[in-house]
Amino acid sequence: MREQGLYSWRNPWFRWSVGLLVAVTVVLLLLGFVVVPSVHPDFTAQGLWAGICRAAGVPAEWSGPPAAVERAPWTTGVVLERSMARAGSAESAGHGGTLASTSCTMCHGAQGVSASNAPNLAGQYPEVVIKQLRDFRSGARASPIMQAMAKIFSDRDVAALASYYAGLPRPRREPTSDGAPVPALVHVGAPLRNIAPCVSCHGGVDHKLGTPWLDGMPKDYLVEQLRAFRSGARGNDAEAQMRNMARGLTDAEIEAISAFYAGTAGAPHAQ
């Protein structure tokens, strides 16, 4: 049992296990970083060392400096932050209320519920109002009226309007809880067409940051926006998530989804 000096090259177990492990590791490193990349000319075009660096995952230009390509315009300049979703102070909401009474109520309604085909703002998530107003201001979202309106608001005004509208009572309850027949696209989507269910982002199952509350929105407004996303006329969704969802929708499906969220699909609802 006694066998002196495990940690000594004279101990065959130590010698063989360490030796074999080092040999195996060195051979594998050579294979992984030299031999395997050499099979692919992309890796070795700039020499052995560049090939090793690429195999190690060092970020590098793969095809020389890029040709001067005009970069496509950003779809939106707004980076959504979680701090935007927090309700502002009462003071801020009060300032927002003052601004709203002079600038917004004509179309969006005295209590943020529109009687025309402008979207409802009552109870809208604050980060949604912030994002859309900033997008109108930068031109990322087009609307002759809203682009002109948004230009007069400072960042502080935008935040104030958002916290004011977030505090107003919503016109309607959760879409999946009121017994109206729910279109399949809304609650399960169409997996084989890569269309996610509306409720996985717009509330019902989950709510994603920057995604608006849709219940009770005017139907014509929803139809128009879905069509705009489908054609690409509207493109201020940062990850193209709405353009990708809308691209596969038929006119009839857009009608059905919009009617459901507007509340005109099932029984008439009180506002």
Partner: protein
Amino acid sequence: MLHARRLVLAHFSVAFAAFLAALVLGAWQMYVRSPLSEWVHNPEHYYRSVTAHGTVMAYVLPTLVAMGLGYAITELALKRPLIGLRWAWAGFWLLLIGTAMAAITMGMGKASVLYTFYPPMVGSPFYYLGVVLVVVGSWIWVALMAVNLRAWKKANPGERIPLAMFGNVAGAYLWAWTSVGVAIEVLVLILPASMGLTDTINAGLARVFFSWTLHAIVYFWLIPAYIVFYAFVPRAIGAPLYSDTMGRVAFVLFLVFSMPIGIHHLFADPQVGIGFKFVHAAMTAMVTVPTFLTVFTVVASVELAGRLRGGRGLFGWVRALPWDKPMMLAVACSFVMLGLGGVGGLINMSYQLNETVHNTQWVTGHFHLIFAGAVVLMYFMAAYELWPQLTGCAPLSPRLVKAQIWSWFIGMMVLTLPWHLVGLLGMPRRMAYFDYTSPALQSQASIVTASAIGGFILLASGILLVWILATATRRRSTTVEPFGFSRPLHPQARTPLALNGFGLWVAMMIGLTVVNYAYPIAQLASLEQASVPVIPIGSR
């Protein structure tokens, strides 16, 4: 006599209670995503269930079984009372509190991120803190295993460490090192984001840290099963262990090679270079060595049993085996599942072949066959073997135990073989529903239905397991036979110094981890603008 009887019993009882609850969730998942049920109306419920099923089956069950079995082996194999019983209870309570915290958070839908976390998705901090408590509780066990072995060595200088204890401590050291990855991921990257201290997370780096844990954790799950193979099976079927040294070699090889291979889970991740992917894939192939050694040694021991019982000829010994003994049946079933699952694993670990099955149901089939099949079946056997020691009950009814083994084996085959098949046909994993009315998927409907039936057979088998264990004390025994481990065929054979300690192998494990992980981690950690906005789950 077990001094830590109540401690071990507590570990096994909580483990199997949680296991049964998670099994119900698993069966429900199988049902709702099969054509037998309507599409689940709220897919979040499905992911909530998957998170709970995975968290219990991957963290709670194996950790509790490894700990409980470890404490039992410490006393039974070293033949002395456990040192640090109070600490062990503290670890157990930490685990229990952590499990409860995570369970409540998951139940509320605040952490439907799946047990592998998947940043940039981020759930409630209470979920992660619960998992951290489970891991911290298990670290107490690691320390106690080291302390007890040390004390025994001091009292028995130059003696050979019993094989069961050797495997047990190898598993403890493996877990200590492998859990560091997930601990860093949770404490440094996920918790700050989850608590709202940061709005972004380095998701690529987090995934690399998780891969550090993700593959070696599998071997931490596996080691209790291997301890049963080496130390319980031969004795239970009346045979000597063919080679004690081979067992030690298998355990130390797991220690060295299970750690630095996790990047084979990241073959589709662009942030890791192909050189590292290749090295990790090749080293994954090395872990098949201890498994082949184990299969060889255990089959050789079983053959000895057959020949001792009068079996003759090339295959005559197979017929002569004690098939009436539950352990014989269990080891046969376990090896069949280990073999099939292992061959599938060779496909997963091959960089190019993996492309064909990556993120399909094939992978789900693979890890259920290996872990829930081959390994968890041996957890059951460990509990059946220890139960008379723990509760003072008469030996369990072999008829019921065999029924439970058969139903688990059949259920697992019916569950996983169809999964492998639909995986090859391209069915993705982690989906709450499938449109079987589409012509593209219609042919898979019957296969998925079959696997759902497998899920229900497994649920029935799990209920039978808990029933057998819960009602065992109805039949009290006046004398409980002292517990014995397998005896080696050549008890006088010399054990090399290297195989009677862990220093060399732990050093190799750490060294190899540094070679295989240091650069990817350093590079991703120093990369600027590598963080992405977090996606809070269940926050509204």
